[in-house]
């Protein structure tokens, strides 16, 4: 299944989808494609299930990345599809926006077991609560890291004390 087919299928299912391209190669020019899909947070499991259904091989889960967008936290679930074939792989990203007043989303570990590290990381770095996540320990931060401090946020919950460590730091 190609990037365009995935785009079409998801569009038919009512998702907002766009495709980005980037050229690579010098003599043999190829296009590296990425598909971006906007997903409501209630639908994240449906979207992952649908993707698994469409993909010939089991979709390869890469990582969840996040950014703080003011009132919202945006999560990006990155998958890759079509591996094993020459020049046919592409990236599929599910974009999910969560309001800061209610940072909750269903865990996808029941569908993709490899997502567990990523969800644990997002939980501690961004303060997103993953429902039904089987393991809620810290992953990278220490056990005694204070509650309510989320290093990757850009609001009042970001760590402030750490900044003092760096002399000559501008802020």
């Amino acid at each position: 299944m190609s990037a365009e087919e995935i785009m079409q299928k998801f569009q038919e299912a009512g998702y907002e989808v766009w495709v980005k391209e980037r050229e690579a190669g010098v003599k043999n020019k190829v296009k590296r494609k990425s598909v971006w899909i906007k997903v409501d947070r209630e639908k994240i499991r449906d979207a992952v299930e649908y993707l698994t259904e469409l993909a010939e091989e089991y979709p390869h889960f890469s990582i969840i990345s996040a950014s703080d967008e003011g009132d919202e936290v945006e999560l990006n679930y990155h998958f890759t599809l079509g591996y094993g074939k020459l020049l046919e792989e592409f990236v599929v990203t599910f974009k999910v926006a969560l309001p800061k007043s209610d940072l909750k989303i269903k865990s996808i570990t029941n569908l993709i077991p490899a997502a567990i590290f990523s969800e644990r990381e997002m939980r501690e770095m961004m303060g997103v609560e993953f429902e039904e996540l089987p393991d809620k320990r810290h992953l990278f931060l220490t056990k005694d890291f204070p509650d309510g401090v989320y290093p990757w946020r850009r609001d009042e919950t970001a760590p402030k004390e750490t900044n003092k460590l760096y002399e000559g730091w501008k802020k």
Binding site: H78, Y83, E89, F117, L141, P151, W169
Partner: protein
């Protein structure tokens, strides 16, 4: 009776602080738990809050000393896509050569470590002696053996000059000769075969389910290689093919031995790629925008996001970057190193194995983790401290036992 053996936070088989908790019944491993929170440096935080994008290149070089080209290359790829920067053709070729030189030295480093874990220290010293040749070339063309500071947004910082080429070719010839000997030492040796065949098996389905990457997944028979599937830089010109162990032995088991085969064959593949790249390298500029201030301003004005993927020696690196117009730092930056996802595969590999197999199996995914110390055994609620040497001795003992 069950008891727990924590390995780490610091241990020689794991080159970075991480803790593994094993539950054992006698010598048999029945459960494995990974505790990663040992030393978090907050590199992404620094990139998002303190460094400008150019400084972040040098910072990302320090994510891993061995993959010191992969991470900056991946970051540069992401930022170039998000900001719409193109790099000259010659630079794309130099990037390929740098990447492959790094693969050679990284795989040889791993081969030495694997030999050491098995108690073959003469082989360790031989492999690392062989590795010095590529390190000399890295020093020659970069001025530094590690943290080479070669890549930049829109190109590379140093050219490969005409006088370098014969020296690089001489190195490649040396490796072609050495390859036969290395393959013989690693693949035909009876003891190495006994210690690695059918040890730490990762089946095909499990490898895919756990999203394993790099030589670890290829050794399980999955033909997955970013250079083949979604090539970047000048890689489409080379038509790289993913290497699986059946190319040599005709079968795929997915054990530690297969992971040795994949890495050895990849060294050979890298030599071929470098040879072709040197012959076909186009002339021209190496940097699109030599003025750094101008470059920083261009990135500062840019708006966009991108995911970049790079086939590092250990597997696939992924960097996600988001840029906001007027924002001085990277607005969002997420790094996923190959080991991040590969450590999940330790569990299926280690279940039902013996304590003495821990070092070689843990090392077989080539974890990018940092150095030495002790192990605590909690037995009947009493703590006994096993030093790294003790654990290493257990592994050597098993080799000796098999030799008899």
């Amino acid at each position: 009776m069950k008891y727990e053996v924590p390995i780490g936070p610091i241990h020689p088989a794991l080159k970075e602080p991480i803790m593994l908790k094993f539950t054992l019944e006698g010598e048999r491993i029945v459960d494995v738990d990974v505790i990663a929170s040992q030393n978090h440096r907050g590199i992404e935080w620094i990139g998002m809050n303190r460094n400008n994008p150019v400084q972040s290149i040098y910072l990302s070089e320090r994510i891993c000393g061995i993959c010191n080209f992969c991470h900056p290359a991946c970051l540069v790829m992401a930022v170039e896509e998000a900001a719409g920067i193109e790099s000259p053709e010659r630079a794309e070729y130099i990037r390929v050569i740098q990447g492959e030189l790094e693969r050679i030295h990284s795989h040889l480093l791993w081969a030495g470590v694997a030999a050491h874990e098995l108690g073959f220290d003469s082989l360790l010293h031989y492999v690392w002696m062989v590795r010095e040749k590529v390190m000399d070339i890295l020093e020659l063309i970069n001025g530094n053996r590690v943290t080479k500071a070669i890549i930049m947004y829109g190109g590379v910082r140093r050219d490969i000059k005409d006088e370098h080429i014969p020296k690089i070719k001489r190195m490649l010839d040396y490796y072609k000769q050495a390859f036969g000997k290395l393959a013989k030492l690693f693949l035909e040796d009876k003891t190495i075969k006994m210690r690695t065949r059918e040890i730490g098996i990762l089946p095909y389905e499990e490898a895919i389910k756990l999203a394993t990457v790099g030589p670890t997944v290829r050794a399980s028979g999955v033909k997955k290689d970013v250079r083949q599937d979604m090539p970047y830089f000048a890689y489409p010109d080379f038509e790289v093919k993913a290497i699986t162990p059946d190319m040599l032995t005709g079968e795929t088991i997915g054990d530690t031995y297969d992971r040795i085969i994949v890495r050895l064959l990849e060294v050979k593949q890298s030599i071929e790629i470098i040879e072709q790249a040197l012959d076909e390298m186009p002339p021209g500029d190496i940097l699109a925008e030599p003025k750094i201030i101008k470059l920083i301003n261009q990135i500062k004005k840019a708006e966009g996001e991108a995911v970049a993927r790079y086939e590092a020696p250990r597997g696939e690196d992924i960097h996600y970057v988001k840029l906001k117009s007027g924002f001085e730092y990277l607005y969002a930056w997420k790094v996923r190193a190959p080991t991040y996802i590969n450590i999940l595969s330790w569990r299926p590999m280690l279940l039902d194995m013996q304590i003495a197999d821990i070092p070689i199996v843990a090392a077989s995914i080539d974890p990018c983790l940092s150095c030495t110390n002790r192990v605590v055994i909690v037995r009947n609620n009493k703590e006994e401290i096993l030093t790294a040497d003790d654990l290493h001795r257990l592994s050597v003992k098993k080799t000796r036992r098999l030799l008899r």
